[in-house]
Amino acid sequence: MTDYNFAYLDEQTKRMIRRALLKALAIPGYQVPFASREMPMPYGWGTGGVQVTASVLTPEDRLKVIDQGADDTTNAVSIRKFFEKTAQVATTTRTTEATVIQTRHRIPETPLGEDQILVYQVPIPEPLRFLEPRETETRRMHALEEYGLMHVKLYEDIARHGAIATAYAYPVKVAGRYVMDPSPIPKFDNPKLSDCPAIQLFGAGREQRIYALPPYTDVVSLDFEDHPFEASKAPHACALCGSGDSYLDEIVTDDAGGRMFLCSDTDYCESRHERGAA
């Protein structure tokens, strides 16, 4: 027994958020406003993702929380503990065992299935924000499908760096309609957004926006004909599991220039390690 309502939020709030989620799923990529609540954590620590997770959790769910792919970082640990305490749901670090995964800045390497929900924490939901600061104008641009500006951003990248230098939060077009910010996942993860069997939900707490990708949605990364999109990663293999096709973190090991590259997805790395060791 706990002093909290199941998953912290009261039922009316969850109802309000679920309505927003249903609308978001009905209009893939469209940012649905919602009345974000004060949560017992600061903005920027995943208040949007936590509210979405709280609204979709059932007592039977098994929750996984990752931050930059890792289950053992402060943000991931504290959110997992938050739901263990307020919802008393089972938790796991195994991607394959989880029914709900809340993530910050990564999509797990292990392919997701139809019985899973991926919840993204989103700092800035508006992909047009940095070029057009007026919210009234960006909303109109979405409504009228005026997305030339998004390509201006990519144009600027190429003009400045010789290639599209945007490496994370790389803009995508959803189901041929809305341009969406996939949250600050590395562009390496962008292909995983498309045609994904799992439900993908995006929550921005401070900005009070929710958007979603229903299963098997077509998601295309924006690019130019002569500068096509590339899902890039560090040109190394993981120093622990030897994987050559997972996204890698660079770890500086000493102050003499020593470094190593490790899978950012800790569960993926450990699973491979165990299988290799077994």
């Binding site: 009228l144 005026e146 201006v152 144009y155 130019f224 002569d226």
Partner: protein
């Protein structure tokens, strides 16, 4: 000959205050019309009504569209009107910073309208941007610089390039030379006159500077208290003004 723009009994009020009223005129392809009057005479209100920035209370603004011939712009849907705004129409603001993206390079500023209508080849967009910078006399070496590093005159020329890259047929200009040094004004006027002639542009130029309209506009409309008090050939209105207000306006200009 079909007018490019035909304005009929346009009226815009702000509560009890009349912004402009009873404005009717035709603008033909290749013509430049000046609108002069003191501040508060309704000329900017009129321009904004024509360009779709303000919704008039009544009247018609009929534009000869490429696809469907003459259509009332005010009866168009917003997407249609905005599409017009970035293809066949252009708007040159008095302050370049209102018409430019100051945090985007010169090339990106010029290329935006191309990308907005579907251009997706970086090399081609850049080549066109470079070509337009040349036409407005900005060194191609500045293509990756931001407008914040440009002088006022350069910013204004960049704004013009950004507007004309999609080959619009009608350009709205709000005090295009306002706030610029006299020598810079002359250069800009010459540039505008050349572009109007070479591209066959039509333009509506709002200004309070009679010297600007004499050099740039074929025809002139004089406004006072929201009404058009006199129209005619620019030199005729300036040299043989009929309305008391126009006579006052013309006689008030300081001679150099």
């Amino acid at each position: 000959m079909t007018p490019l723009l035909s304005v009929k009994t346009l009226r815009k009020t702000y509560g009890a205050h009349v912004g402009c009223t009873d404005v009717s005129f035709d603008l033909f392809p290749g013509e430049v019309m000046g609108i002069v009057g003191e501040s508060g005479s309704g000329k900017t209100t009129l321009l904004n009504c024509l360009a779709g920035h303000l919704t008039p209370d009544r009247g018609q603004v009929i534009f000869d569209t490429r696809a469907d011939g003459p259509r009332d712009v005010l009866a168009m849907s917003e997407p249609e009107r905005r599409m017009l705004g970035r293809t066949d129409w252009a708007f040159v603001h008095q302050h370049a910073r209102d018409g430019l993206r100051m945090n985007v390079s010169a090339g990106g500023n010029v290329g935006e309208r191309l990308m907005a209508v579907g251009a997706r080849h970086y090399g081609a967009i850049r080549a066109q941007a470079a070509d337009w910078l040349g036409r407005v006399e900005i060194d191609a070496g500045r293509i990756d610089d931001r407008p914040t590093t440009f002088s006022g005159g350069m910013q204004q020329r960049l704004q013009i390039a950004r507007n004309l890259v999609t080959q619009p047929r009608l350009v709205f200009m709000d005090e295009p030379t306002g706030g610029l040094d006299v020598s810079v004004q002359a250069r800009l006027l010459d540039l505008l006159r050349g572009l109007v002639r070479d591209l066959g542009l039509s333009a509506i130029v709002v200004t309070h500077d009679l010297a600007v309209v004499r050099l740039l506009a074929h025809r002139l409309m004089v406004m006072k208290d929201g009404r058009v008090v006199e129209t005619g050939l620019t030199d005729q209105v300036l040299d043989d003004p009929q309305h008391p207000y126009t006579q006052l306006l013309v006689s008030s200009v300081l001679q150099v």
